[in-house]
Symmetry: C2
């Protein structure tokens, strides 16, 4: 029986702050919870599962908005696996693109760093030289 938790205990049990729970509620990820006579929010085991779902979704790189969609697919009885797959594929594509961008930049920085003479004044640094390069001279090394 983990039911009847107030927000603080509930939040602690799922490893987030009480503010985060209220934030999820305000943003439609959690339904309005039950309340005590005094107006205190009360959570039960189902809420625990729901927050864990959200946390795992975040862990997989989904935004809260996407997680909201995933949650509604999860609760729907007409939703198809393809709907979930679609969101997932999009996310995969997004990550691939980000990885590709980051890799290219990283490689460019690495090339510049490799040429950088440590024991020299900054004026000899190819990194600064690259940043300060005139547009005309860029044909040398640009995509």
């Amino acid at each position: 029986m983990t039911n009847g938790l107030t927000i603080g205990a509930f939040a602690k049990s799922v490893g987030v702050r009480a503010d985060t729970i209220r934030y999820y509620e305000r943003h439609g990820l959690l339904a309005d919870p039950g309340r005590t006579a005094a107006g205190y929010r009360i959570y039960d085991a189902r809420d625990v599962e729901r927050v864990r779902f959200i946390r795992k979704g975040k862990h997989l790189g989904f935004t809260l908005k996407e997680i909201g969609t995933l949650l509604s697919l999860h609760s729907s009885d007409t939703a198809r696996a393809a709907d979930v797959l679609d969101i997932t594929q999009r996310k995969i594509a997004e990550f691939k693109s980000q990885i590709s961008d980051l890799s290219q930049i990283e490689a460019a920085l690495q090339r510049l760093a490799d040429e950088c003479p440590v024991n020299a004044p900054a004026t000899d640094c190819p990194i600064l030289a690259h940043l300060a390069a005139l547009p005309e001279r860029q044909g040398e090394r640009e995509d």
Copy 2:
């Protein structure tokens, strides 16, 4: 003679909005420019170079704060190449770490997506199953 540009023309010449130029100024990346009698900002070729430096820095993934540091190293006559290299290495490390994180998540999503039966109700989707998994059952497939 590209000197004596007002902010709009200047911004256009470097491919940004006038607001962006003011933003850079407010954030210390551009020094206070000269002014006409009426108070209009006036820019010259050196400013063009400086903004291009900033843009290229952004292109290489540096934050404006880092670019500010790079700019001051660029204008310093005591700065050493090692100072620039240091910032660059940090950025490279940051990117490597991001790439690694993204790759792991992407792989995890790909594994789930590969198992997802397209023509099935969402209840059979391993992606939702993973998100909804109880903490106890996670030992099966977690790091």
